[in-house]
Symmetry: C2
Subunit: 374 residues, 2 copies
Amino acid sequence: MADTLDGYELRSLITAEGQLRISREPIAVDDPGPGEVIVRVEAAPINPSDLGLLVDRAIAGTFRTEGTADNSVLVADLPADRLPAVALRVGKALAVGNEGAGTVVKAGPDVQHLLGRKVAAVGGGMYATYRKLPAAATTLLPEDASAADGASAVVNPRTALGFVETMRMEGHSAIVHTAAASNLGQMLLRICLADGVPLVNIVRSEAQAALLRGIGATHVVDSSTPDFRDRLIDAIAATGATIAFDAIGGGTMASQILDAMEVVAARSLESFNRYGSNVMKQVYIYGTLDPGPTIIERTGYAWKVDGWLLTHFLQKANPETLQSHARRVQDELKTTFASRFGATISLSDVLNPQIARAYERKGTGAKYLIDPSL
Amino acid sequence: MADTLDGYELRSLITAEGQLRISREPIAVDDPGPGEVIVRVEAAPINPSDLGLLVDRAIAGTFRTEGTADNSVLVADLPADRLPAVALRVGKALAVGNEGAGTVVKAGPDVQHLLGRKVAAVGGGMYATYRKLPAAATTLLPEDASAADGASAVVNPRTALGFVETMRMEGHSAIVHTAAASNLGQMLLRICLADGVPLVNIVRSEAQAALLRGIGATHVVDSSTPDFRDRLIDAIAATGATIAFDAIGGGTMASQILDAMEVVAARSLESFNRYGSNVMKQVYIYGTLDPGPTIIERTGYAWKVDGWLLTHFLQKANPETLQSHARRVQDELKTTFASRFGATISLSDVLNPQIARAYERKGTGAKYLIDPSL
């Protein structure tokens, strides 16, 4: 006779009227079958990639609560022109939370050795008290790691390693990145320091710059200062960077990076070339901190602006390289790939309008960790 | 004792004060050495790629003449913020004219067989009465071809063939192009018709649409109509195009094409994916009809916007493919690769402010051919 584990999971719904509704729904998780485990989720980060599905582009000023205290729903309005882009999800209450970590509380007969162990997974629907998953889709955490240590053990580490591998695959030798003080940015910095890859770190404040210098960064450029362009040119000249990874997306940052790279490349030109230099300059946009349009002032024709997505990288990278990445994350989980969170909240807290406004802002150092077991 | 051939060549100068000065300078061309020929240039097109060097971004309203009637200089002002981008050419009077065709009037002792023959060349400085060139850098025209037939025998044909080859190299199967009624656009259309490559032609007027339909185009979309987006989506759905070549550069055209491609790709999605489709969508910008910034509304991460330049393509394409392209241009010079010009003008005419305003507009059907022998 099957037992069930009772709990809750978060779901995000967009109505045909353009209302966003996030609710905590009861779940009853059946016993695991062969090859399956049930994870009690104890730590799941709110990454920018989760926020898109969780709150889409809700107008933060409209966050409010409906329902009873025990059974409340977080409600917000979407911008009027947003519905066409999300038509495929209208009316469907989607489970949210890309990744997380926790303790295996039940295990199929063939995977009993996992019982009681801590694992991480990119399973989707991780903002839940319990999550049934194939054991093969989980990663065993080291004995001394907490669930919080393993919460961000996949997306950020594999993305940062993917950036360095993309640099190598495409023949570049140094990197520029934006939002450099983010958890992901700090991982990239530590990888580049260990691997001897010159790195230009673009941040938005002196406090962020100081944080990165404390880790060992050499080239930190603050985009909020009036001499940003000159300092960026200097840093690109010093490193030879011709590839960038940008988390911002909207506005002119990608263009400013290409411009600075071209200024440096043009210094090697001996005579005027109306097409600019022949040095290929590449910006990958991997995030959407600014959902506005990307504005590119073109100089010459030796430039590229592309999207970058972890799943696409995993499909095209060498399998042996990917295995070595997985091992490195295991080995360096509490050092290179350590994450810091500003606060730990419960599933109910996610529905609190005041807290929602805070995590929706995506501020550096204000990263939230959800512990559904609270 | 060496004879010289006397003539003129056009030169374009930008002064430190931001003045553009185009002049007709006397030249005296020495006898050719071994392996060299002297071409009397009889037909050289004004391509957009020439205009950049010839008039840069001169303010067309300021075109005026200085000097005497016999020795006049065309003068214009540059936008105030333009000087930094052209610093490397300030104070240098540059010879202009990428390509052209004419008659070999002198030939080195080892290349006497070329005497009297018509040749084409991408030699630079082709807006000149005479041009000395290595014979190896010229292309012999078929006996029945005029200089005008051969004037555009390289840049446009090799670019159009390069687009189709780029499509194949990168795994796409149909093409979108803008400014589709240009000489280059018409060549691409004829190549695609012959090769069975589905092509979406974007034009700016019904007259241009009619012209392309007359050649045999199936999918012609007029960006000046209110239902442009819907018609573009229909044409992309019908062809399966996932790569585009854009001559405009500035504004939202690249973004509109990516949007339409994504709408079509998303139709195959069975459930909502916040990253959009996995179908890679590529726009190459190869021209600058609009020098303003490129504005990209991003949807998902499976997209690229890159610069495309013929010289870069020639460096990376397969040498055998390039040889087959050269043969095809020879064989189909008066059919697939025929060019039409709106007017033929002399070197002196280039300095006429009224004519300068006309060729600077780059209007379809108003393409100018320079005949320096006039």
